[in-house]
């Protein structure tokens, strides 16, 4: 499995993602500057990650300028060919601005930058990004953003839900033996329907505001639920089967 991590001016989670993937033994990671025309690795990457940060200073709108980067043409054709694309936090904002994912991320309801651990419920375990989770499982990933309120007009939001494109939803902490409650009242940022992460119709482009890479390394911050996220990708690509 080959991964490419795109680095925009202002990205600040690129090294974290590369480290999390390396720590999960998922194979080589290529760092790609935003102004490159294509990926360097022969045959192209299996997974492209758009990391968190403040690409281009979040000027105009978060992700808007980054969505016009040269490398985004290669990211789009990778996605069009069925390749996996993952956008975390600012990367999610870039994917919505690039129209690779539906919706938009508005300023948090309390108008504050929120940096906090939070709980999300895994709504689907049939995606390449979540196959090692159990459906309905509650995991703890930290969030750190100012624009994380997921927005779609009501009719499009209902259509998104009915197509099952919501993969992560802010939730209450898990209670033993009981299904966890999730939804808008658990959104730390006011996100509609408590949406924390969505996937495209085809199921190969995922964006989420929480940071699985920040709950991957042991003894860093509380929890290592993020390991299961990378494990999903490893299982999907049969990484450990090769050994």
């Amino acid at each position: 499995m080959k991964t490419a991590v795109v680095v925009f001016p202002g990205s600040n989670c690129d090294a974290d993602v590369a480290r999390a993937i390396a720590d999960s033994d998922l194979g080589p990671v290529e760092m790609v500057w935003h102004d490159e025309g294509d990926f360097k690795s022969a045959g192209g990457p299996d997974l492209v990650v758009l990391p968190g940060g403040f690409a281009h200073g979040d000027y105009l709108r978060s992700g808007a300028l980054a969505a016009k980067s040269r490398i985004m043409k290669a990211v789009k054709s990778h996605a069009d060919g069925g390749g996996l694309v993952l956008g975390i936090c600012n990367g999610f904002q870039v994917l919505t601005e690039a129209r690779l994912l539906p919706g938009a991320l508005l300023p948090n309801k309390n108008l504050r930058f929120i940096c906090a651990p939070c709980h999300v419920r895994v709504e689907r375990s049939d995606t390449p990004f979540t196959k090692a989770f159990k459906e309905g499982q509650v995991v703890q990933f930290p969030i750190a953003h100012h624009e994380g309120l997921y927005f779609l007009p009501p009719d499009e939001l209902a259509a998104l839900e009915s197509r099952g494109q919501v993969v992560f939803r802010y939730s209450a902490p898990a209670k033993f033996g009981e299904p966890a409650d999730a939804g808008e009242r658990y959104s730390p940022n006011g996100s509609l329907n408590g949406i924390a992460g969505v996937i495209n119709k085809r199921g190969n482009v995922l964006g989420l505001m929480p940071h699985p890479e920040r709950s991957t390394l042991k003894n860093l911050i509380r929890g290592t639920d993020g390991r299961v996220f990378w494990q999903s990708l490893g299982e999907y690509f049969g990484v450990w089967g090769d050994k």
Binding site: L60, R61, A64, G103, P107, L111, P153
Partner: protein
């Protein structure tokens, strides 16, 4: 060729939560401006553009606004053109 000054105003669409607008409105009202309502906070972008005609300039501005300056899902825009050369 002619040169135009372009003033683009981008605002959150009706129905899109505008937390900034709400916060500004709240503070205005508390500061005694009780007659103020419907505050929306957006962006103002000014640039100049060279074009063969005013309508050609307008077409270019529409394209730039749809492509980058405004996100049509959540924002609407208006603009003014003023010939400067």
């Amino acid at each position: 060729m002619m040169r135009f000054r372009v003033d683009v105003t981008v605002l959150p669409k009706d129905g899109v939560l505008d937390i900034q607008g709400k916060a500004v409105e709240h503070t205005l009202k508390r500061s005694g401006y009780s007659a103020v309502d419907d505050v929306r906070v957006g962006r103002f972008i000014r640039f100049s553009v060279e074009a063969k005609s005013e309508s050609a300039a307008g077409t270019l501005v529409d394209s730039a606004a749809d492509d980058l300056l405004a996100n049509g899902l959540i924002e609407s825009y208006t603009y003014k053109l003023e010939r400067i050369q």
